[in-house]
Symmetry: C2
Subunit: 246 residues, 2 copies
């Protein structure tokens, strides 16, 4: 085979349009992305506006407060969405996985920074282009709105976690929720991959890196989990659920 339909491996920058070989119809995340509500004809229309973009570990897709010129579908990899306080304190607002859409709100400016946690593949649109399509397709807007509602829900979960849970509850709840999210995109559900570093977890849970590390160690010693390189194996999910207090 001369033509690899998934050959769009540009190193960190836009690859040219190869629509005929790598179209939306074959998109790995089509059915779990906003695009799932589009008919094939509509997909083709959108496809003309799209561009595949890859990013390396650590690369920023955009920064908090920047003009939102682009919006993205995440196809592969994981991202960290963060906000900063003027003095450098950081809060991770969430992690984006395949099927997630960045720029959901279609706002003027990005409200968070987005950085790749590893190699990431995205499907990029100009915001105005995309907004124009949305304008013409109310059901797409409806899909975005549904997602926004879902995001709002997650944000509320996280507020409850940040405001009212103990460190141990936070870590336990985090592991379980990450497992659930991976499960939805069809990953193994016993071993939870942690594509982010300890500092990211800490900044997500409103803890310090030391506290996260200590609690993981403690859960490991209690045989509730097994800490392995690059992830965690959930040995006793029931106990974890009890610890998470949810």
């Amino acid at each position: 085979m001369l033509v690899d339909t998934r050959s769009c491996e540009s190193s960190a920058h836009a690859c040219s349009h190869k629509r005929s070989e790598d179209g939306c119809a074959d998109c790995k995340v089509r059915l779990i992305s906003v695009c799932s509500v589009l008919a094939l004809a509509e997909l083709e229309e959108l496809e003309l506006l799209s561009q595949h973009l890859s990013f390396e570990k650590g690369q920023a897709l955009f920064g908090q407060g920047e003009a939102a010129n682009s919006v993205y579908n995440v196809i592969e990899g994981a991202l960290r969405l963060t906000r900063l306080l003027p003095d450098g304190r950081r809060q991770v607002m969430g992690f984006a996985l395949p099927g997630d859409f960045l720029g959901l709100a279609l706002q003027e400016r990005h409200s968070v920074s987005a950085e790749a946690l590893g190699p990431v593949k995205t499907c990029r649109f100009g915001r105005h282009d995309f907004a124009a399509v949305v304008e013409a397709k109310p059901h797409l807007l409806r899909s975005l709105h549904e997602r926004a509602g879902y995001e709002l829900n997650l944000a509320q979960d996280q507020m409850l976690l940040l405001g009212r849970r103990t460190a141990e509850e936070k870590v336990a709840a985090f592991l379980l929720s990450l497992r659930d999210r991976f499960a939805r995109t069809g990953r193994c559900s016993v071993t939870v991959e942690l594509p982010m570093g300890r500092q990211d977890v800490a900044d997500y849970l409103g803890l310090t890196i030391e506290t996260v590390s200590r609690i993981l160690s403690r859960l490991d010693r209690a045989h509730t989990i097994l800490v392995v390189p690059g992830g965690v194996r959930l040995l006793d999910q029931d106990r974890l659920r009890r610890l998470a207090a949810s």
Copy 2:
């Protein structure tokens, strides 16, 4: 004048439709609510589906997890939006003020409980009725979506606050943000009314009631604010801004 256009003062329960005297066109919050995007003809259409509902202090509009049969425009008063942990720990997700819309996401079930902090007047719609109108009016959906984006922003602000700010920063930021919100609905901006109790503030900021009280006292002693019954007077807003670290 025989007809008072704002006479709909039912005590805690639905008042009958008096559309001719108290219509959307005269609505106090029309210009700051989702309805601001509607033309007069559209308003009249919506008006037929609406119903004024009042609530007493402490009354619940709906509870977390309940089927969302209704959505509401807040016309007057203030509400507390909360989530509970199974063991009773509570997180206040936000406070709704006049012009706010409850049920923005149009989801099956309410993701929070909503309780009146004092006398509240609302404009109620059946969710399905409202959703049908939204379906027919993409610009209304667009307005809802914009609001959802704004809510998402606020939620992210709050996550940053909950996860990374100190108690003093939390309280200072809270007072300033409340002042800003009241300012947008045209209230005095030196004396900030606090329609919620200390426990509500604590549950909003992820603190205990004692800590909130102590910090307010400390700010008072430092002449940064003046604690008065039912509110707070901001004496030194610059210092407050510095304390808020934003």
